[in-house]
Amino acid sequence: MSADDVTMMARRRPGWAAWLMLAPLLLWLAAFVVVPTGILAFYSFCQRDELGRVVFSFSPESYARVFDPVYLRIFGRSIWYAALTTLVCIGAGFPVAWFIARVSEKWRHRLLLLVMIPFWTSFLIRTYAWITILKSDGLLSALLQYAGLIAAPLELLYTPVAVVIGLVYTYLPFMILPIYSSAEKLDGSLLEAAHDLGCGPWRVFWEVVVPLTKPGLYAGILLVFVPAIGMFAITDLMGGARVPMIGNVIQNQFFQARDWPFGAALGVVFTLMFVVSYWLLQRRGAGATR
């Protein structure tokens, strides 16, 4: 079968059997994504009364408040932390993914298992473990003091650094796995061919490795950046609510401030932001593989 035949098959319209097989997914998406998003959009144009109840009268007022500098700053900070997290994940994850993809099959499976082991434990327990490590009388601080590297206890917990550490820790596997799957498909003889044509190791990385692992890299960026922006549990637990991100603000509007229309408006803007960035990435990703 030639490459063209494969493309033809992939582009064929799905038949009724395919729709039937897709039905569970489509129902799930309709019930838990389309309908809730609709409700969210509807609420975002409503108002609240003094008691926090939703009043069903049309008003764009909530959207006006979204663009208040206070919230824009939080949006900005969320993007900044998520971007930083993504960059650190690429820096730390790429070599790991590359290495795993290049070792023998036996070791590949073992190492992949190690990457996935954290998922066996509850996310909250793992986050509390980090708190124990990072707090001022915690493991890291004690170790560094014992080694004589620092004099005073380390004040790391409840700082932005702790938040980024937590985010990187949480999302690193989501960067490693897609890059790995791209790197694993990369034919080793391409690297030899590049070397053979006079390309040194560093240049091979930029000329061959990066372009050919782009699909995995983009998938990793998407899988890390998007959820990192909206994360609120880590910022609450490890940032001590001192560095609120957009996820915390939205959560506050629904639970503490009882301003559902405003929370909904924030949510809608937030979602639109993703849709646009996803669309941009998709376009670039498609350009890279074709």
């Binding site: 070397h195 053979d196 044509l197 000329e207």
Partner: protein
């Protein structure tokens, strides 16, 4: 003259397995040399040692006067055509061919010119902007060739480049490769397991077996005077018959071949000290006839099997003493001469066409 490529006592082991063992080989400038051998014989490892993808455990590799044993592949003026072609899937045909020149930092104008030249050389004009996945196997093969030739290497290494092509395309590519090599005067080192490919293209052939070079010579040398039983069996077909010495005098030796056939041979073709040898007889060198033949060596036989192959007939002969021989005869049109299964025939052989090999 200094050889273009020289291996001196090169050994390469993978764990306990010696892929290449104490190989010395000198490749002349501008020649088409083929490394011929079965899969796993070490021929690809030899190529990879020359390219620089492997470092020898012992011995050294020279390119011209330079010892390149420890030089990485990207600093050797040697390019390879890979078995899988290894074209960069994210680059167009033009970008693939330009890759090596870009690495050499060739000025843009010159690069453009040489890329177009290389593409024209392999007749791929008009395909410059295609990506590899939009090309057929034969076209990809040509791109791989153009890409390897564009930086003007001193030596071009080809690792079974034709094995993925269908028979027809393979034949035309063989002739084209030979033409290119003559035209450019570049030294080609070609790896294959296909003896026909080797015979068609090579100036010289190195027969590789179990990590060693068993024989190095022209196609004619190897065909007519194989040095080992392996070389005799691998290039062309051959009757390989173990034989032992019965008696000898000044002019003749008397030998008995496996199966019992006893022959009187001129003493000159027998190695002085040998007791046991292997006799190699090419099937087409046996003269088979229904009437008695006049030859230095002759014996009667019976046709056990006859296979029609168009221009020739393939015969399996059993001698009266029970030895089995393969023969190839031209398909005679005259009815009287036609040989069929069950016929009694006479076999004749020139002593020159009998190759005596060391028994191993």
């Amino acid at each position: 003259m200094t050889p273009m490529v020289e291996l001196r006592g090169v050994t390469k082991r993978f764990g306990a397995f010696a892929a290449v063992e104490d190989v010395s080989l000198a490749v002349r400038a501008g020649e088409f040399l083929t490394l011929l051998g079965p899969s796993g014989c070490g021929k690809t490892t030899l190529l990879r040692l020359i390219a620089g993808f492997e470092t020898p455990d012992a011995g050294s590799v020279f390119l011209g006067d330079h010892d390149v044993t420890d030089t990485p592949p990207y600093r050797r003026n040697v390019n390879q055509v890979f078995q899988s072609y290894a074209l960069f899937p994210h680059l167009t045909v033009r970008e693939n061919v330009a890759f090596g020149l870009r690495m050499q930092k060739t000025p843009a104008a010159e690069r453009e010119r040489r890329v177009s030249e290389a593409i024209a050389l392999v007749s791929l004009d008009g395909f410059e902007e295609r990506k590899p996945h939009q090309l057929s196997g034969g076209q990809r093969q040509r791109v791989a060739l153009a890409r390897a030739l564009a930086p003007r290497p001193e030596v071009l290494l080809l690792d079974e480049p034709l094995s993925a092509l269908d028979a027809k395309l393979r034949q035309s590519m063989q002739l084209e490769l030979k033409r290119l090599q003559r035209q450019l005067g570049v030294t080609f080192i070609f790896v294959t397991h296909d003896q026909e490919e080797a015979l068609t293209m090579s100036d010289r052939i190195a027969i590789v077996n179990r990590g060693r070079i068993e024989q190095l010579g022209t196609a004619q040398d190897i065909y007519h005077a194989p040095a080992t039983t392996f070389a005799a069996g691998f290039v062309g077909q051959s009757n390989l018959l173990p034989a032992e010495l019965l008696a000898r005098d000044e002019a003749t030796v008397r030998v008995r071949m496996e199966g019992g056939l006893e022959l009187q041979l001129p003493a000159s073709c027998w190695p002085a000290a040998a007791k046991r040898v292997v006799l190699s007889i090419r099937p087409e060198k046996l003269h088979v006839s229904k009437t008695p033949v006049v030859a230095e060596i002759s014996f009667p036989a019976r046709v056990e099997e006859e296979i029609f192959k168009g221009a020739v007939d393939h015969l399996t002969l059993i001698t009266d003493s029970g030895s089995k021989l393969e023969a190839v005869v031209a398909n005679e049109s005259a009815l009287l001469e036609a040989i069929h299964r069950g016929d009694r025939v006479h076999c004749g052989l020139h002593a020159d066409d009998l190759v005596v090999l060391r028994a191993d």
